[in-house]
């Protein structure tokens, strides 16, 4: 009996961690944009959804390899992010932050409305050629798509961490995040770095869209993944890549455990509820999150 309890808990944690890493990947898009440009992107979930639709649309064409679909999703999302930065957000530069927030909320609503208007509301399937053989770790069993998700997430989280800490461009981008005017005086083309940050957010959204899309199926509900981004980034800190990873893991595990233990009693839904409870508690005690930058006050 005891053993069963333990292995149940273990499998909940493993599944939570793997889902959590995939949240991290999407949260990374949010963090990159916030870090570099101070813009809060409330349409991150819709970005993921859009990428899913693009990938599913291309994959549905007869004889099209799945790789083409992934590349198409990445390309479209990068171009889309560039265009968004250029057309919508640049004119809002220097305006109150609320303007940007409202713009992205509006954009999210528009994006959610697009699929029913164009390709219809039915769920489209997007399957990666990875078989159905589940991956077994002790008592826990992971579907192959989650394993792929974990690998891709780790790969990109690592790559972005390296970029920010070690490359000159990454340092320049952090300089832009720190003080735009001074960065400009250092010869840094601030707007180009804004565009770069959005492009990177586009890339992670595209990957998120492909992975989540093949896990849940592609329809407008895919945008709801974006709702998990907020607890993740608040927990980890709005501007921290490490924070996005840790925050994602915590949210993944918490919702998995909550769903495993509480759902039988309350009839479901704790999965979406628990991360937000955690977020509110976090905001009360540590508003910058676990790894967020706080303003340095030297006395």
């Amino acid at each position: 009996m005891m053993i069963d309890e333990l292995s149940f808990a273990f499998s909940l944690v493993v599944s939570g961690l793997s889902i959590g890493l995939m949240y991290s990947l999407i949260a990374l898009g949010f963090v990159l944009v916030y870090k570099a440009t101070d813009a809060i992107n409330f349409a991150q979930g819709e970005f993921v959804m859009l990428a899913g639709f693009v990938a599913a649309g291309v994959a549905a064409v007869e004889g099209m390899p799945i790789l083409a679909a992934i590349i198409a999703a990445v390309a479209v999302m990068v171009l889309f992010s560039f265009a968004l930065e250029r057309v919508v957000l640049r004119p809002l530069l220097g305006r109150p932050i609320v303007a940007v927030i409202m713009a992205t909320i509006g954009l999210g609503a528009i994006l959610r409305g697009l699929p029913p208007l164009t390709v219809g509301g039915q769920t489209q399937s997007l399957s990666l050629p990875i078989g159905d053989e589940p991956f077994v770790i002790g008592p826990a069993v992971l579907p192959p798509i989650q394993v792929v998700g974990v690998i891709v997430s780790l790969l990109f989280l690592g790559a972005f961490t390296w970029f920010f800490l070690k490359s000159r461009m990454g340092v320049a981008m952090r300089a832009v995040a720190d003080n735009q005017q001074v960065a400009m005086a250092m010869g840094i083309n601030v707007q180009r770095y804004f565009a770069l940050a959005w492009a990177m957010a586009g890339i992670v959204s595209a990957l998120g869209g492909v992975i989540w899309g093949s896990m849940l199926g592609v329809d407008t509900h895919l945008a709801l993944v974006g709702l998990k981004v907020f607890p993740v980034v608040i927990l980890g800190g709005l501007d921290s890549i490490v924070g996005a990873v840790i925050g994602g893991l915590i949210v993944g595990v918490v919702e998995s455990i909550a769903a495993g233990y509480l759902d039988p009693f309350v009839g479901g839904g704790t999965k979406d509820f628990a991360p937000y409870v955690l977020m509110i508690v976090m905001l009360m005690f540590k508003p910058y999150g676990l790894f967020g930058q706080r303003r340095i006050e030297r006395v």
Binding site: V171, R174, D178
Partner: protein, 268 residues
């Protein structure tokens, strides 16, 4: 006066399309010298520097008349990062280091205009040679450096782009007199070693006139007085209003109630 490295010719600066801040400012910075720009708060000194570096445009300011030249190249109206590529570096008032970056990362960001990684490395070592204290703090987050170290970092960071002209805005602000001496000593050395031309904005007029060769005095958006540093030091108005000395040369006493009755002799 030698070859003019930086020439400002009768510029007007307007903020928000209506507020006239600079009303016809002209000045020269001779090659390989320190030129100082003195004046009270709000006189327009920092605005002059921002007009040169181009960051004015990020604050809704604009050069509406006149011209700014680096050598014989016109730079007014250029974007700030292009100005940096041409060889002008600005050290901002209040240091403004990238607080969340380490000392060394600040320098790397400062060397953004350099093409090769090797030259960035060389540049960093050069800065460490001038400011050994920065080397000790290389991996420390710069927001936690002391004020003096931050000022050194701000100057070092500006050096990274290998500038020909450095705009130095109030480097003495909030620093202990000994540190001010040290920093001005290094700036003096930089000018000699690197053939740097410096435009120095200062409130600490005594210090500025000591290191500078030439000086300008600014009031209400206009240059009201100009001359060699030596002649400015002897000017009785400068002594009275900027150096706080009376005619005999001793430090002024606040007991001397008559001092505020004296009027400046220039028109402002």
């Amino acid at each position: 006066m030698g070859f003019s490295m930086l020439t400002i010719n009768n510029i007007e600066v307007v903020y928000d399309k209506v507020i006239l801040v600079l009303k016809g400012v002209s000045l020269n910075v001779a090659k390989g010298t320190i030129t100082t720009l003195l004046g009270a708060n709000g006189a327009g000194k920092t605005t002059t520097l921002k007009a040169i570096s181009g960051v004015l445009r990020t604050e809704r300011g604009e050069v509406t008349k006149g011209s700014i030249q680096l050598g014989d190249r016109r730079i007014d109206g250029m974007r700030p990062f292009d100005v940096t590529y041409l060889g002008i570096a600005q050290v901002f008032e209040g240091r403004r280091v990238f607080e969340h970056l380490t000392t060394e990362e600040n320098l790397i960001a400062g060397g953004h205009v350099l093409r090769e990684k090797g030259t960035v490395r060389e540049g960093i070592e050069r800065v460490y040679a001038y400011f050994p204290r920065l080397k000790e703090r290389r991996n420390q987050q710069s927001g936690y450096l002391s004020g003096g170290e931050q000022q050194m970092l701000a100057i070092g960071r500006a050096l990274m782009s290998r500038p020909t002209v450095m705009l130095l805005d109030e480097p003495s602000l909030g620093l202990a007199p000994m540190l001010v001496e040290e920093i001005f000593g290094i700036v003096h050395k930089l000018v000699a070693d690197e053939k740097l031309s410096v435009l120095l904005v200062e409130q600490n007029a005594a210090m500025a006139l000591e290191v500078a060769e030439h000086g300008y005095v600014m009031e209400n958006g206009r240059i009201v007085l100009e001359g060699s540093a030596a002649s400015l030091r002897e000017n009785s108005d400068i002594r009275e209003f900027y150096l706080g000395l009376n005619e005999v040369g001793s430090r002024k006493s606040y007991r001397d109630v008559k001092h505020y009755k004296r009027r400046k002799r220039w028109l402002s």
